[in-house]
């Protein structure tokens, strides 16, 4: 089982994703047909890929996603509850048992922004969590924030403030937009705030 020239797990992931050139792929395949240690590592990579895919489909990750990701989710027949807010806007929102994904479409002028943070704050505006340097598409006027559906189904009626922040050249923060979510619980559960 010894391997003198092991293939890096990330390269094996590229192989699994068909992201290698033809000659790179041939080199990897010849090695894998001769090496059980690297084959075992490839199985680990495949298991990791499958696990991440399952997590993605559960809607339980808190993250910024792309519009094409949401489109693909919808094509799979999963139900997305989406709220669209302009900068400075607020919305009455909830989540039901039928929802698989919860997404806030936050409109903002992102043209000049080189780095953008998404801050999640309590009803008093006090920052509770910051998603630093989120993916922002050049020229896009929206950020798609996916809230964990597991979390959203568990929280009591409450308010959450989201803020998009960018930075000037001196490192100072500048707000791009603030968004108020007035969440009303529509599912049974504990009546206290339980941050995840």
């Amino acid at each position: 089982m010894k391997c003198l020239n092991p293939i890096d797990a990330a390269v094996l992931a590229d192989y699994w994703l068909a992201a290698l050139t033809d000659s790179e792929e041939e080199g990897v395949e010849l090695h894998l047909l001769d090496c059980d240690r690297c084959g075992e590592r490839l199985r680990e990579v495949i298991a990791l890929a499958e696990g991440i895919r399952k997590l993605a489909r559960e809607g339980s990750l808190r993250m910024v996603v792309s519009e094409s990701f949401l489109k693909r989710i919808a094509e799979e027949g999963l139900h997305i509850r989406e709220y669209t807010l302009p900068a400075g806007g607020s919305v009455q929102c909830t989540v039901t048992a039928e929802d698989d994904f919860l997404v806030g479409r936050l409109a903002a002028n992102l043209t000049e922004a080189k780095r953008v943070d998404l801050c999640l704050c309590d009803e008093h505006g006090i920052e509770q969590l910051r998603l630093a340097d989120i993916p922002v598409q050049s020229g896009a006027g929206n950020v798609f924030y996916q809230e964990s559906i597991t979390f959203a189904k568990a929280i009591p009626t409450s308010k959450m403030v989201a803020r998009l922040i960018t930075f000037d050249e001196a490192g100072g923060e500048r707000q791009l937009g603030e968004y108020l979510f007035n969440h009303t619980r529509s599912m049974p559960g504990p009546g206290v705030w339980q941050p995840m």
Partner: protein, 181 residues
Amino acid sequence: MDIELDDAELVRQIGCGIDREAEAEFFRRIAPRIRLYGLRHLRDAHAADDLTQQVLITTLEALRAGRLREPEKLTSFVLGTCRMTVLDLRRNAQRKQRLLEQFGADLMPPVQPSLPGLDHEKLRHCVQSLKERERAVVVMTFYHEQTGADLASFLSVSEANVRVLRHRAIHQLRRCMGVDA
């Protein structure tokens, strides 16, 4: 059977006449490797099993008949056989797909490949603890099985940078999950 024999030596023994032990050892070694090739190219456990069986039969026939003159080139021979067999299976799959569309796809439930078990909650924690861009790359990559231009556009970076982010994230996830990075 001396399990220290390398693959080329096994090939020579099989080519010298019917040696059931050598053949069994050869099957034991090479079958999982062919199956991985099948999973990668066919994305289906049943099809990977079919591929493994067919490639083993073809290879064994060649070895018994002494057609592989340079045993050191076994892996090249097996790889070539895998490629040809995948083409055949894809053609058959297209025929099967037409039949399934005609008679109903629920006749064939999916089968999960035998892969190492993962602690799902730990993985959730590990994915959530990645940096935002790295998380976006791995989640969207493995969900879509997409690697290139769309992700680069979403992140406003080059495709090469997407690859760097993906590699970094995979190493971090493996460390977080407690396997060698």
